[in-house]
């Protein structure tokens, strides 16, 4: 089960500069674990205390996973996972 993961500029230090990488899994959590296995350090930038970090937005295809089960969001072969830095502040 391969999905394409689009990596934002700020996290490309973990992917050797690559804009997108392949990963496997049937849930977002599995995809992130697979990313971590090949690109160490990514998981800590995405997950904090068992849920998605507030500093990132993660989309499966066009859907923000915050509204689709978070880390348990399901992914299937051929899906695109897009990671963007959340733009926010006070």
């Amino acid at each position: 089960m391969a999905v394409t993961v689009s990596i934002p500029t700020i996290l490309r230090t973990h992917t050797g500069g690559k804009k997108s990488v392949e990963a496997a899994g049937t849930t977002l959590a599995q995809v992130i674990d697979d990313l971590e296995a090949n690109h160490g350090g990514l998981k800590a930038r995405l997950v904090k205390e068992g849920s998605l970090h507030r500093f990132v937005n993660v989309y499966v295809n066009d859907e923000d996973v915050r509204f689709a089960g978070g880390l348990e969001a399901s992914v299937k072969d051929g899906d695109t996972v897009t990671i963007l830095p959340a733009v926010a502040g006070g």
Partner: protein
Amino acid sequence: MLVIRRDLVDAMVAHARRDHPDEACGIIAGPEGSDRPERFIAMDNAERSPTFYRFDSAEQLKVWREMDRNDEVPVVVYHSHTATEAYPSRTDVSYASEPDAHYVLVSTKDPEQHELRSYRIVAGVVTEEPVEVVESYMFAHTGSDDTPDCR
């Protein structure tokens, strides 16, 4: 230093005034590597709050994909402060994730006179920079390529 066209400054200030007392936010996209803000994009503040802003995530995905297709980057990321000065808050610093962006703050605290300032925010360190407002980029030094804009 941020070199920016006057019409883009006016657009940010107008957006900030329009959404006052809520915070307004958006970006100005420009060609990758140019350091030249060109395309003004007002974003929805999903929080609709006088003390916090967050880009609407669906709108952000759409705009980021557009920039990707156009080989653009967010040269300016702006938002307003409606009751405090135009200086990044602790929250602003914790979220800042674009080391190459100019973070522009517009304060609408004073109903007559706005305050507009620009910063680099890299690894939690805030550095204010001068803002040069120009009528056109044709005669301005606009960063690494310094190519006159001759369209």
